[in-house]
């Protein structure tokens, strides 16, 4: 269905408010002793190391925008960086990490591994990318900021990236003390560019360069809905590496051959999302060219009978899943934050879409922050009924609480759109530059 709503662009003031409120997550969800940040605001949520990486990235944004004092932000960084420095690196089942990597989920209070989670290579990369961002911003010659930078160097330099490579050089996804490396392999385009760049840029234990080629050989360059795109279904894949690395105008071997780059590719991924939402093959409520955003998120679960009753029997609820287009999984669940986090790639389209979605489904914000997902098809009332033209809002099922990854990517991408701060910082990071070059990136700002 073609959206016929009048444009409802998000203006600068609203954007500022949304960015600020997203940042406030990191003030709320932090453990004051360890500095670790919770994965979600839900009860008993552990720390996700990736969310800590986002926290370290957004503290500079908050300082730059005057939302927090520089000294306070530095103190927050120091606290969590010291924690990781001193953490148990034995690889024991209840340790914090091994070989410089960290378990995906940690106890908020002690930092010990929880949920039998895996030692996660990509989440460690996101943590370290955040640490390097902070180190690039807090460059003063004060004792605190000097210590901060030294801690970041220590944490980055002790990661043994080569240990995590398989026979082909591909970086493995995870390791557990119970079973060793996991079977899962990176196949096809995904969020691993920043992982490879950091692994290749290491001055101490750099990954063997063959791994990047071995990974990119699994890419699929597809013409889909008349767009030529390096295909990946969920939207976050087109955002996560891009949040730190300015991928505009620089190309690796693959993108040189395709006369494109990863930034342009994300723009096309947005077009594919919109084309899918317009087609809306499963006839879910709400979908159109201004209401899209299929990505990895928590969503409605079939375990909740009253939700299952509201769904067409041929459909299925997927709970937490990497939702994507055009092949699914798709259960009618969308993520508003994922749309707004696409802002740098297609500002006008994104501002209009995000504005329209917020107007129709205001419940996707709670405490001013995006919930991780909403599902208009599962609205308590008839979701296909026209929404109230006076309020212009419609009902939907809304996820509860907030997720740190969603808030972090939102703050970063809004900032990249507004000032390019994160990109500027990381363009000056010698490890990122070295890693990009070793991965074969050339041109643009790398020249």
């Amino acid at each position: 269905m073609q959206n016929t709503d009048p444009a409802r662009m998000i203006d600068e003031q609203r954007l500022d408010q949304l960015q600020h409120d997203a940042f406030s997550y990191f003030l709320q969800a932090v453990n004051p002793v360890t500095g670790l940040v919770a994965d979600t605001t839900r009860e008993d949520s552990p720390c996700s190391i990736a969310v800590v990486g986002f926290a370290l990235s957004v503290y500079p944004v908050a300082v730059a925008r005057g939302w927090t004092q520089r000294a306070d932000a530095v103190e927050r960084c120091l606290k969590v960086l010291r924690f990781f420095r001193d953490s148990d690196q034995s690889g024991a089942p209840d340790a914090t990490g091994y070989k410089g990597f960290y378990y995906h989920f940690l106890s908020m209070d002690t930092g010990a591994r929880v949920w039998r989670s895996e030692l996660s290579m990509v989440d460690t990369a996101l943590l370290i990318a955040g640490a390097l961002t902070a180190a690039r911003y807090f460059t003063a010659s004060t004792a605190a900021e000097i210590e901060l930078r030294e801690l970041v160097e220590l944490l980055y330099r002790r990661i043994d990236w080569r240990w995590a490579q398989d026979e082909q050089g591909v970086i493995r996804q995870g390791w557990k003390p119970e079973c060793g490396f996991l079977h899962y392999v990176w196949q096809g385009y995904n969020e691993a560019i920043v992982l490879y760049v950091l692994a290749l840029g290491s001055p101490t234990h750099p990954a063997d360069g063959s791994g990047y080629e071995a990974w990119t050989v699994t890419y699929q360059w597809e013409n889909m809905y008349d767009y030529d795109v390096l295909y990946a279904g969920p939207l976050f894949i087109h955002q996560f590496s891009h949040a730190w690395v300015d991928l505009r105008g620089i190309q690796d071997r693959f993108m040189r051959e395709k006369h494109s780059d990863y930034f342009e590719n994300s723009r096309r991924a947005i077009m594919v999302q919109r084309a899918y939402a317009e087609r809306n093959p499963n006839e879910f409520a709400g979908y159109d060219d201004c209401c899209w955003g299929l990505t990895a998120c928590d969503g409605p679960d079939r375990g909740i009978p009253e939700l299952a009753q509201r769904l067409d029997p041929r459909h299925h609820l997927f709970g937490y899943a990497a939702r994507g287009v055009p092949f699914g999984p798709d259960d009618g669940t969308l993520s508003g934050w994922a749309v707004l986090a696409s802002l740098p790639f297609a500002p006008e389209i994104v501002l209009r879409s995000a504005g329209t979605m917020l107007e129709r489904y205001p419940g996707m914000l709670s405490d001013g922050r995006y919930t991780t997902s909403f599902n208009p098809t599962l609205a308590p009332n008839d979701p296909h009924a026209d929404y109230d033209s006076s309020s212009r809002s419609s009902s939907a099922w809304y996820s509860t609480g907030h997720f740190g990854l969603d808030q972090g990517i939102l703050v970063m991408m809004i900032e990249n759109h507004r000032t390019g701060l994160i990109w500027q910082l990381m363009r000056g990071c010698p490890y990122i530059v070295a890693g990009l070059r070793r991965a074969g990136f050339r041109g643009g700002w790398l020249s």
């Binding site: 079973c179 050989v217 889909m224 295909y231 279904g233 051959e257 093959p281 029997p313 041929r314 699914g328």
Partner: protein, 502 residues
């Protein structure tokens, strides 16, 4: 070949009469045969017919049942019960077609299997021993063992040959799981003997056979768990295909255990208790029956191939060159006994090739085969040619034209929108390198791409070829149209482009 059979009804009596007549007596052997075929499955029968038609004196030796895996314990019985299982799935989903869902959908499993046996008996007529004998082939039942470079023995009877073909097929590769043998399990060689459905079934293996059977039994009302050691089903296929299949299984209500390795089986209170390990964590499932579908191994170890100077191993099978010739120039091999691609159609094609190379001094190469295949799940997953990864590893730049089935009108009218057509071409050309189709009838659709590849027809020609509207194969045309649009944009001269853009 397992010769155990299903209940001895009229269908089974007919099938056995066709594929292993109970009153059979081996003929007296000729002094020397121009061509001896070991194995009466697809490859063996095709080769024997062709050699006889060329005028050779031919003998064929079979130690079990004619028709081999495909007819007796493979494609034919599995497709029969898959059809019934689809019908049950459609009945349950009747509402989505605007149809009344029958009030009492009860699976009569015995009837399902009886139908399968009827179909198997009917198709066995085409593969009967008598037909082959009528084509002037001497048929011997018994165990063949080579006794020299140009001789073999069938239960003591000596046969001499000028040329021979090893077409002994393959058998299920049973995983070595402690306690499995003691607990009892089914393979594709025994599962079609069932007349009563197990209440709960664990399928070990997420390859084609495991996936097909798991879905079929699930739809026939069996509470089914499928355990796959790898992170995705059908590891050979591309990620999206495997993902769509996993989603489809979930919709069917199947319990999917990916990255789960079965490490032990025991019997408790008459039930089979299986330990599954995922990332170091052990969980336990309790079922009434276990079906293994973890691959197949060639039947080569009982042939005394050493005496004939033929090298082999138990994993690959008989070692052959590109002309399907073994280390003994008199002896060739075909089908599952030597090929990595163990399909009925590769057995057929390789048998033709081997006969022509053996008897007509042909130089046809097996590497020239364009081999399609299909896994008959719902949706079906079909492939031909190269995967993108294979193309890129060979430094061939590749671009994929993708059409989701939800863009195909007939898929929409039939509520069969799950899947896609992906056609891979060499970039900046219309040369088709390969294709994957995931669709309700992908197996039918892939043949068009195979024909195009064999005939050297490019995507541009497919775009110019009218396809009957109202077919799901129109998805292939839509992919070709997308290709054409990219080419037209590139080929329009700049002045004309500017004029068009006014």
């Amino acid at each position: 070949m397992n010769t155990s059979t299903a209940p001895q009804d009229a269908f089974e009596r007919e099938r056995l009469d066709n594929v292993r007549p109970p009153d059979w007596h081996n003929p007296p052997p000729a002094d020397r045969y121009g061509f001896v075929v070991i194995g009466g499955g697809t490859a063996g029968q095709v080769a024997a017919y062709e050699a006889a038609a060329l005028g050779a004196r031919v003998a064929l030796i079979e130690h079990g049942l004619f028709g081999g895996n495909c007819l007796n314990v493979g494609c034919v019985p599995s497709k029969s019960i898959i059809r019934t299982s689809r019908l049950y799935a459609e009945m349950r989903n009747g509402e989505q077609y605007g149809a009344q869902v029958p009030l009492d959908i009860r699976v009569d499993f015995a009837a399902v299997m009886r139908r399968m046996r009827g179909i198997r008996a009917r198709i066995s007529r085409e593969e009967s021993v008598r037909r082959l004998v009528a084509a002037n082939v001497d048929v011997f039942f018994g165990d063949a063992r080579f006794t020299g470079t140009d001789t073999l023995a069938v239960d003591g009877t000596r046969l001499r040959f000028n040329k021979a073909l090893i077409a002994t097929g393959a058998r299920p590769d049973t995983p070595s799981i402690p306690g499995l043998a003691e607990a009892g399990y089914f393979t594709n060689e025994t599962v079609f003997n069932l007349t009563e459905a197990p209440r709960r079934l664990l399928v070990i293996g997420g390859g084609p056979l495991g996936c097909e059977m798991a879905q079929a039994f699930c739809r026939l009302g069996v509470k089914t768990i499928i355990a796959q050691e790898r992170p995705l089903f059908l590891p050979r296929e591309e990620r999206d295909a495997a993902q769509i299949l996993a989603d489809s299984f979930a919709r069917d209500g199947m319990e999917v255990r990916l990255n789960a390795r079965a490490v032990g089986v025991r019997v408790e209170n008459g039930q089979k208790v299986v330990d599954l390990v995922t990332d170091g964590e052990t969980s336990t499932v309790t079922v009434d029956a276990i079906l293994t579908g973890t691959g197949r191994v060639p039947n080569v170890d009982e042939l005394n191939l050493e005496a004939a100077g033929v090298s082999y191993d138990n994993a690959i099978g008989v070692h052959v060159d590109d002309f399907l010739r073994t280390g003994n120039r008199r002896i060739y091999a075909a089908g599952d006994a030597c090929l990595a691609d163990k399909f009925n159609h590769t057995a057929d094609a390789s048998a033709h090739l081997a006969v022509r190379n053996a008897l007509l001094s042909g130089r046809q190469r097996v590497s020239a085969f364009v081999i399609p295949w299909c896994t008959y799940t719902d949706p079906e997953i079909a492939h031909v040619g190269l995967y993108v990864r294979q193309a890129l590893e060979r430094k061939i730049p590749v671009k994929t034209f993708t059409v989701p089935m939800h863009d195909v009108d007939r898929a929409i009218t039939d509520d069969e929108e799950m899947g896609f057509v992906k056609i891979h071409v060499k970039e900046r050309t219309d040369r088709i390198l390969g294709a994957t189709i995931v669709a309700r009838h992908a197996g039918e659709m892939i043949n068009e791409i195979t024909l195009a590849m064999v005939a050297g027809i490019g995507l541009e020609t497919i775009a110019h070829t009218m396809h009957s509207y109202g077919t799901q194969a129109e998805g292939i045309k839509l992919a070709a149209d997308a290709f054409s649009r990219t080419r037209v944009k590139r080929e329009i001269p700049s002045p004309l482009r500017r004029w068009l853009q006014r």
